[in-house]
Symmetry: C2
Subunit: 405 residues, 2 copies
């Protein structure tokens, strides 16, 4: 995986050539749907106008330190406030005052911080790290990157049967397949990290207020501001929060303050709008807008898949969302496409049509699966559907036969 | 070192109690001069007015990707341009077009990226990492944090005599002692990382344009914007730059874009001003201002030290600065104070006077030394001098005897 760095980096970011990331794609452009870059939300934020603009003078935010009295001393108080407020409003996670918020450079850094906090030195063997397959490909990459003696990637949690201490990462809704999940290892030596990046009401019904020991969230997938690299953890145990903060302190001496302030402002605006629009429903709040877009995209994709002889999708559950007070079906940030068993390499098949996706084998699954981002810009998404609907395989048509079993 | 996390974290950031980080300190406040928080430059940037203000709309900077055609795909083109421009203007490092710029969440993250790039997996033993003592305390902490099998901290480069591959970190001017340095290990298996965080004309004369394989710089110490967490590496070899980028991609999926844009703007303003003020010398450029402040502070400190029976300072060289076209003496960002041999624990002695500093033993030196930040706010600095001048030791005065040998 790490050996592919020049062409398709670990996170699928970005292919080397500029042509793979056009703003307005030409009809024969390479479409990068490997990375989950949430540019689909740009139009909404353009419409939001000056309310979301942030002005920072030359003399602000100069110190390393944001809040010396807090467990996480580099967390801007305004961001702390916005994070607790949005969870309270949406009802997706318990983030009341007693819980500790730790901010990170994206939730990826916080996952590493959690592993550092949960995997002490001095044990006979490194602590095992597992996640039920299909799992987010970056977990393996980040766990293996520095060949740490503190922890070791052990792959699919379903197959884990060792006696020693372990950490299970639980992603819910799951990346890549969008399903709601619980921990699968039934063993007393484990600690859990819940990655709830997609537990927001534009992706999935909010069925209850999550209340786990360590819960990870990211600004990227909540509002679409991936470039800000802001994630946060909600942590029950103070000692764990202190160790996570320590990890961030040693590796990056905190988290960029400009981005923290911007996240505080955008999350605050989302809350303001939800509350205002609940009272006056003429306008569309961010979550309403994003849910409508996701629903439309998934409806279109289902139409194309229905006519396809090659691709299929799992059926998603329908559930009651406590936030939006209605029943709806999950519409995840990624489509987890399966090709029929004539295709041995789905990623290769799509690449042949200039659609870059991430192969199932990166997620501990097989190559008949691919993960496709549903969060691209509108034009890229439409081109994707157009191409997908034309893909046919069969001996004799001269196309795509290399991918057939 | 890592065991001290609750009270005095690795980087000395911050003591737990809010009282250790007052904006306007009371006369008996605890003064935190452990961390090199460069708040002394705030007043300059307040005076710079709107020219340095950054406005970011809600829809900007949403993508993970900044420049897909660049080796470092998450580097904002405007920051790339400002970095090359300021090095060209100051003449402190070769940063012409053929060199690769890699941006990091502070230069600390880039040091880890460099270690990842220079210490390949699959060797019989981890690659040794060394630095001549006294060395910046964070090198050891960051190298040891995850107990990596790729690299191992081996301490003082002067004592390194192994045959295997190694990385030597060369800090010049050095943190903590401010001296200009070259590599010390004389062995063919080594690779060098030059940390040039303090090679700017407010700290030291610019005597030549540095042109090393990997050079690290940080926005914190250049302009004083530590909260932005922006550092950069100038890298000669493309493969090394690709691997460093890969490290950043896996660990944080890039670097906060708001902070990159702000750094681009501030560095650009510094350049604009230098060029304008060279033509019209009525106003003071940032470097002139900062150099004047540092000179004044060092003059005051030398005065206090001259009268002290306890503390001493090494003499700094005087050299010709190609940038400012004059001779001057180095005035580093830290004072490396030595207590006379009656004191066994200088850090403890100063702590007794509510002055937090970093003990020499954290830098591979002995406890008679302490590192003291020279970059605090004006009031904190003046209180520090006031207290320093009153410190006396001696059997019978009832004070400080616990620190006497």
């Amino acid at each position: 995986m790490c050996g592919t760095e020049n062409k398709t980096p670990a996170s699928g970011l970005p292919a080397v050539s500029g042509e793979t990331w056009p703003t307005t794609p030409s009809p024969d452009a390479v479409l990068n749907l490997d990375v989950g870059d949430p540019t689909m939300y740009e139009a909404y934020w353009k419409g939001a106008g000056d309310r979301c603009s942030l002005v920072i003078s030359g003399s602000e935010l100069m110190s390393y330190i944001s809040n010396p009295g807090s467990t996480c001393w580099f967390l801007e108080p305004e961001l702390d406030k916005s994070i607790r407020r949005i969870h309270d409003l949406v009802g997706n996670a318990v983030a009341e005052d007693g819980r500790h918020i730790v901010v990170g450079t994206g939730s990826t850094q916080l996952l590493q911080a959690a592993l550092y906090a949960l995997c002490p030195p001095g044990l006979p063997k490194p602590t095992s790290v597992v996640c039920a397959a299909p799992y987010y490909s970056c977990y393996q990459e980040v766990t293996e990157l520095l060949q740490s003696n503190l922890y070791k990637w052990e792959g699919d949690a379903h197959n884990f049967d060792k006696d020693g201490p372990f950490v299970e990462i639980v992603t819910s809704p799951n990346n890549p397949d969008g399903l709601v999940r619980e921990a699968v290892v039934n063993c007393p030596n484990g600690k859990l990290v819940h990655d709830l990046a997609y537990y927001w009401p534009h992706y999935t019904p909010i069925t209850r207020q999550a209340d786990y020991d360590i819960m990870l969230f990211t600004f990227s997938k909540c509002s679409g501001h991936a470039g800000s690299r802001i994630g946060w953890a909600i942590v029950k145990d103070k000692e764990v929060a202190v160790k996570m903060t320590k990890f961030m302190e040693v590796t990056t001496i905190g988290v960029s303050k400009e981005s923290q302030l911007r996240a505080a402002k955008i999350l605050g605006t989302i809350c303001d709008d939800c509350q205002a629009f609940n009272a006056n429903t003429k306008s569309e709040s961010f979550f309403d807008h994003a849910k409508r877009l996701m629903t439309e995209r998934w409806d279109k994709l289902h139409e194309v898949i229905k006519r396809s002889e090659i691709f299929s999708l799992a059926k998603f559950p329908r559930d009651y969302c406590l936030f939006s007070a209605e029943f709806f079906e999950t519409h995840p940030a990624f489509a987890w496409l399966k090709c029929n068993n004539k295709v041995k390499d789905s990623e290769g098949l799509l690449r042949g049509h200039k659609i870059l996706t991430r192969s199932g084998n990166r997620f501990g699954a097989d190559r008949t699966y691919v993960r496709v981002s549903m969060l691209s810009g509108e034009e890229v998404f439409n081109l994707f559907l157009e191409r997908l609907s034309t893909i046919k395989i069969g001996i004799g048509n001269g196309n795509d036969t290399s991918h057939i079993n």
